[in-house]
């Protein structure tokens, strides 16, 4: 590797580091405890319940429910559907993640325009986002299901390949890529642990815990939101909701998480 290591490590520095490490490991332990406590009573359940209602409710210009929406396991099958997404859908002839598929069903089944269906993908306070609730409901029906994303169709293989390229794509004023923070083991930003998404264990830990109720925001956030906000911090332009790049990147990460039990909606700080 080309990286120049800082050459000087003295006994003084090592000792100081050991003392700091003790103070720090206390802090990290406290954060772990806090996260553990959060697991009891996850407000994500409110989004799940509202989403189930929205799924079954007759809505849109055509006044029908989403119960005939095919999430990949046949019309109306919700159980376990999320653990096999993204996938190629013949009726749209493209690879879709859950959120893109929900929008597709809102347009084709319920008669919403694309603009209406995607007007507010991320909620803020009383401006709630139906897509976040629907996503919470559908993902909750995959809790405990083993991640099993397939790359059979040529477009699924292509999505994975492009997602991998996008993961390593460095650009913008800060030269950041996803890989800047997520391609090495045991790294942190401030005190926040960063999963290595290029390795199975890291991808499984990272991917299977989204969507999540974010305590700091008081909102349930989906995987589309996770990517949207990572790109914002990468100093990229604004990611379009459900865009091809977002689905490709999701395919790359979801496939890497195969074999793990899906465990969301979760709760995060």
């Amino acid at each position: 590797m080309i990286r120049v290591k800082f050459p000087i490590v003295t006994a003084v520095a090592a000792l100081t580091f050991a003392m700091d490490a003790a103070a720090q490991s206390n802090t990290v332990d406290e954060i772990a405890k806090y996260r553990q406590q959060l697991q009891d009573g996850n407000p994500a359940e409110l989004w799940e319940a509202r989403g189930e209602g929205l799924w079954k409710q007759k809505r849109g210009p055509k006044n029908v429910s989403l119960e005939q929406c095919d999430l990949g396991k046949g019309a109306g099958v919700v159980k376990g559907a999320y653990a096999a997404l993204p996938r190629h859908f013949a009726d749209a002839d493209r690879v879709m993640d859950l959120e893109t598929r929900l929008v597709h069903c809102m347009v084709t089944l319920q008669g919403f325009t694309l603009a209406d269906a995607t007007r507010r993908p991320f909620g803020a306070g009383s401006n709630r986002a139906d897509l976040e609730a629907l996503t919470a409901y559908v993902t909750s029906e995959s809790r405990g299901v083993t991640m099993n994303v397939a790359l059979h169709h040529a477009k699924e293989k292509e999505a994975y390949r492009l997602g991998e390229k996008i993961f390593y794509f460095r650009a913008g004023p800060h030269d950041f890529a996803c890989s800047t923070c997520h391609a090495e083991d045991g790294k942190r930003i401030r005190l926040q642990d960063l999963p290595n998404l290029t390795q199975k264990a890291g991808a499984q830990l990272g991917y299977t815990t989204w969507p999540a109720y974010r305590v700091s925001q008081g909102e349930l956030r989906t995987f589309q939101w996770r990517l949207y906000d990572c790109f914002r911090q990468q100093r990229f332009p604004e990611m379009k909701y459900g865009s091809e790049a977002s689905v490709a990147l999701t395919t790359f990460l979801a496939y890497n998480a195969n074999g793990a039990a899906f465990n969301a909606p979760s709760i995060k700080r």
Partner: protein, 209 residues
């Protein structure tokens, strides 16, 4: 601002990643091109973040790769040489500013995001990736610890020039470094980089206590 050496782009072709190539009939270069097209269709300009941010310079292009795959030595050397040539040292010859202001800049993470006000000066967010002072225990580990950076090295003229230059353009010394090129890409002002140099080297700075 951008590195002019376009021949470096052509070198990207030989840096083919054997482990990644091979599926769906696209060469590595074709996959990169397709990925860029897809990205251009997948983002919108917003605020100060224009679509030009998706256009890579040569270093960005050559460094878009898994860190586990080694960059050919001659490519790394060329990246470092080109980036080194971009460093502009202050005209007044002074490289050390005020470490107190440097500490504030090191703590601040805003700047250049589409959600940021472009009129507010950007921070360097050093603590996101580095340990610096002993008092701040909320530090990241993507970069090496910089605690006692100046105490270990002194603050001689060559060390000041190295430190200022590293902040200005980290890839002048380490091709494909994860560290932003703060001067080269116009993230920080000259004065801010002087203040950070002082934070690292001034004997009174908490970094060196």
């Amino acid at each position: 601002m951008r590195i002019a050496n376009t021949s470096l782009s052509r070198l990207a072709g030989f840096a083919a990643f054997a482990t990644l190539a091979g599926c769906v009939g696209m060469s590595d270069q074709e996959a990169s091109q397709k990925a860029l097209e897809v990205m251009k269709a997948s983002f919108n300009q917003r605020g100060q973040a224009g679509m030009d941010r998706l256009i890579q310079d040569d270093a960005q292009n050559l460094c878009s790769r898994p860190p586990t795959i080694e960059l050919p030595k001659e490519v790394a050397a060329r990246i470092e040489k080109t980036n080194h040539a971009s460093i502009k040292y202050p005209a007044d010859g002074k490289l050390m500013g005020d470490w107190r202001l440097g500490e504030r800049i090191a703590q601040t993470g805003i700047g250049k995001q589409f959600s940021d006000d472009p009129k507010v000066p950007a921070g360097a967010n050093c603590y996101a990736c580095h340990q610096l002072s002993k008092a701040e225990i909320s530090f990241g580990t993507i970069g090496p610890s910089l605690y006692n950076f100046g105490k270990l090295r002194g603050a001689s003229e060559p060390i000041q020039r190295y430190t200022y230059g590293k902040i200005y353009n980290a890839q002048a010394f380490s091709a494909c470094s994860n560290m932003p090129r703060f001067g080269h890409n116009g993230i920080l002002t000259e004065q801010q980089m002087k203040d950070l140099t002082a934070l690292l080297l001034d004997p009174n700075s908490p970094v060196n206590q």
